[in-house]
Symmetry: C2
Subunit: 202 residues, 2 copies
Amino acid sequence: MAALEYPAPIRQLIWQLKSLPGIGPRSAERLVLWLLSTGATQAPQLADALKALGSSVEMCEACGFYSECGTQCALCSDDRRQRAVVCVVEQAADVLRLERSGAFRGQYHVLGGKLSPLDNVTPEDLRIAPLLHRVRDLPAEEVILALSSDVEGEATANYIADLLRRAEIKVTRLAQGMPAGGGLDHVDEMTLFRALEGRRTI
Amino acid sequence: MAALEYPAPIRQLIWQLKSLPGIGPRSAERLVLWLLSTGATQAPQLADALKALGSSVEMCEACGFYSECGTQCALCSDDRRQRAVVCVVEQAADVLRLERSGAFRGQYHVLGGKLSPLDNVTPEDLRIAPLLHRVRDLPAEEVILALSSDVEGEATANYIADLLRRAEIKVTRLAQGMPAGGGLDHVDEMTLFRALEGRRTI
């Protein structure tokens, strides 16, 4: 005798939800039952928002951040931002993280990832050639590499720094050191090493 | 100057997702960026599954479990299930939990909640009247109350037991005691009290 299961539409949605990152089979089941319990409104609204995502969001060709189809990119169209400094990040979410810090008012450039030979990510897969064109066209005087400090991030930073120095552009990177508000006990050795190395007179 | 934000369709979907139980603002943002990074396929598929949920799942009028519109309820249409025993549960998800245990092959009846004066849940809000009709029509000899053992669950069980006993139906409830595989150190005092009270000769 076949085991009792939820009707097909419920199983289908559970299957879809549990393929999302951070949602396991039990959370997926709970979400679907919750949606069913809210009646007829919540699920269609969520469906519409998902459809809109696919059809009305595009990547800005210049900076790589997201923009709404048919409108100008909020970053590139803002002429109060400095044009002489470009901050290079791995992904679009990094742009908002830096913006929220309030420390930067220049141009951003989203690479779309980092070099990773193991995952077959080569310079052609990233928006590196567009970066070189953009730096020349703006023109930019300084490029800040705000990439992650793991092996792939460092390799990507070195690769881009090399190309930009050949074009005689100043290349900088984010300082490494202690996180704000954290004590020595919460920091790994490599971070401590870099914090010591980069110590500053007060 | 207004802070930089994601385009409206992205904000809208983040807002929709973070209203779901167990999904906070950061998970919602990560999910949306992940959906964007997967390209054009994943978000519309999820949207379709959500639309189908609203339009093609309904509640079985007899037992209260979910069924696909236009098909018979998998539980009520299965004539190999005992008709003389009805197991009363709070919600549809409980049906599958009990089914997976393999210990029960009778009828289920989903109440749709439990009595809770604080949340304005009265007997009229639950499927109690349909339960009484169903017990008479089947006809059932025994009703198992598989409700949660918190205050509201107990109150609901007592309320229903009262009505059923007046109709001269045998009413039982799930045994309370130690969870399988657990030691004394993992069990609260109330569970231990009930496990002692219900001790059995071996």
